[in-house]
Symmetry: C2
Subunit: 344 residues, 2 copies
């Protein structure tokens, strides 16, 4: 039995209370400053307002102000913030954790540096730590929808970090007969693969928008498959450029699959596929987090910056760069189909 403190009581952080408690751990769930209401309600009757699920009664809840109390006696920490909370998590939370703490985070995405280098969050946070501070920073990638996890549906994710022993420890604390965990020390590969799927899910879903535009039941399966395959090809190439292990592409492509069929990237892609300009589509999806769009823009910017350095060629990423043109530069959608056919 370990004491696991989850910081960030959004959907994913909270869904992880299920496998964590079922493994016999003591679980403490700490809300961030934007989670106050969620924690208040959980304290009443264990009902999670956005996850729409009732958590285990044994789960302990804390507001952010009670973080110190929550951390007292904590064995490991799970970070549950979204990519918008990355800097906050790095500057406000990590310095407060006891030295040597082992941390694993659900935050997906990477930071792009001015020269196009893509930095996975664990490495980004590592650099932000105060001098002398030592933490073990690990991450969770792969196709996992919080609502499905809370529902105990079969799910497969990858835990990545530099120390396999630490990863095994986290796996032992969290694995169940429905939450299956692969382990990898290839942090860049897993995180890059997973971050890439956002832009590509939007891109693949444009074919679904084209179908809907037709207004009949005719499915553009060939076109969807073409965009899916092209997405995979570009992901494969970028993974190679950043030095990731090819096998870790499966987490990103699995995630791509699930993102094409569910969620915000899909809805945005469908609108774009119908020819609706990005600014207008954004209005139509008002209220929805545009995390995926931000990640897609960052990845595209990284590709453009790396191309300037000669690390890769822009023409190897025609789909990503076109989608970026559409969402970042207001270009009218016009999928460059023929650019996908190549001699290999």
């Amino acid at each position: 039995m370990s004491v696991i403190t989850i910081i960030g009581s959004g959907q994913m952080g909270s869904a992880l209370t299920f496998p964590a408690i079922e493994n016999g751990n003591e679980v403490r769930l700490v809300g961030t400053h934007i989670d106050k209401e969620i924690i208040d309600r959980l304290r009443e009757d264990n009902y999670h307002m956005t996850l729409k699920a009732t958590l285990y009664d044994s789960c302990k809840y804390y507001q952010l102000e009670e973080l110190e109390e929550a951390l007292d006696g904590t064995d490991v920490v799970i970070g549950g913030v979204s990519s918008f909370g990355v800097d906050w998590f790095g500057t406000e939370i990590l310095p407060k954790l006891p030295d040597g703490m082992e941390v694993i985070t659900v935050t997906k995405g990477m930071i792009n540096e001015p020269d196009g280098t893509l930095v996975p969050y664990p490495y980004y946070w590592q650099r932000m730590l105060p001098e002398g501070k030592k933490l073990s920073l690990n991450a969770i990638g792969g196709p996992c929808i919080a609502l499905k996890l809370a529902n105990h549906d079969q799910t497969h994710v990858a835990f990545c970090g530099e120390d396999m022993e630490v990863l095994r420890k986290f796996k032992n604390m969290l694995t169940t007969d429905y939450y299956h965990i692969s382990l990898s020390t290839d942090v860049t590969g897993v995180e890059c693969s997973v971050a890439l799927k956002n832009g590509y899910a939007m891109a693949t879903a444009t074919a679904i928008g084209m179908e809907e535009l037709r207004g009949d039941d005719f499915k553009l399966f060939d076109a969807q498959a073409m965009l899916f395959g092209q997405s995979m090809k570009e992901m494969m190439r970028l993974l190679d450029v950043v030095g990731g292990e090819p096998i870790n592409l499966i987490h990103g492509v699995g995630d791509l699959y699930v993102t094409v069929f569910n969620g915000r990237s899909r809805r945005m892609g469908i609108l774009l596929g119908k020819g609706i300009p990005y600014a207008e589509a954004k209005e139509m999806l008002a209220g929805e987090t545009v995390e995926a769009v931000v990640i897609a823009q960052r990845t595209a910017q990284a590709v453009r910056d790396m191309a300037k350095r000669g690390v890769l060629k822009e023409e190897d990423y025609p789909l990503l760069l076109h989608i970026d043109d559409v969402i970042t530069r207001g270009v009218k959608i016009d999928i460059p189909w023929d650019a996908f056919a190549e001699e290999q």
Copy 2:
């Protein structure tokens, strides 16, 4: 302008008349012995009974008995038989083609030898040729549904063969603004990748069957993504074993994507996912070609045979081998979820 003779007037062979004629070629469509009615009807009003499409008026139709006439003056041949017609095509048709003829076929799949070696059809046919006979044998792989191609939907395929110049010639004859063609000399990679998707599409679709069994609108997205990712992992491994280029995995995975969402492998997978024994599921799908099942069985057998030789390990293919157990040995479905989580 070239004279293109298509042998086999099933859906795919016939759908190729569209890009072929639109490129200004003379196109001759020859029915096999099972296509008699199709050819009879096409001669009446150009309507293709199974493709449910009207072909171009300039298309010329031939019954098998008129093959010699069709071949007279032919520049290149397209083979349009299904994998059930492979031996027939090799023994009855190929020997009748003029020496040096360039042939490209739509037949997907591979032959497995007793030691587990997987042989792409172009190489299989090459070995069947009478002594001294020389033909250029090439193949088409990738996600292309005949009805979608006939409808001029955006489609991306791969032409593969040993001579890039011959492939370019075929591409020039057939490429259009909706039929996009990549070229590859990695015949084994393209064909293996494409052949593998049959069993895996059934496997991935079992999660859709599990959803339907629930009887509500709840989608098992995580489980689908898990099976899709696992399929890709096993395909990636087998492609590596047979020496295929990793990039050609995109044709197989694109094809996997489209096959999960459309067609017979999907329907079979859904029934199996509901727990219906294979024998019963087969009855329920009576009348449907079980080509995909045969290909899946062959691939699984090849994996088992290669494992005996120590070329690969059976435990690296838990999903394929379980699905094979279900369809070949009457085993009750019980997806080995936990076997998919690995240390990498």
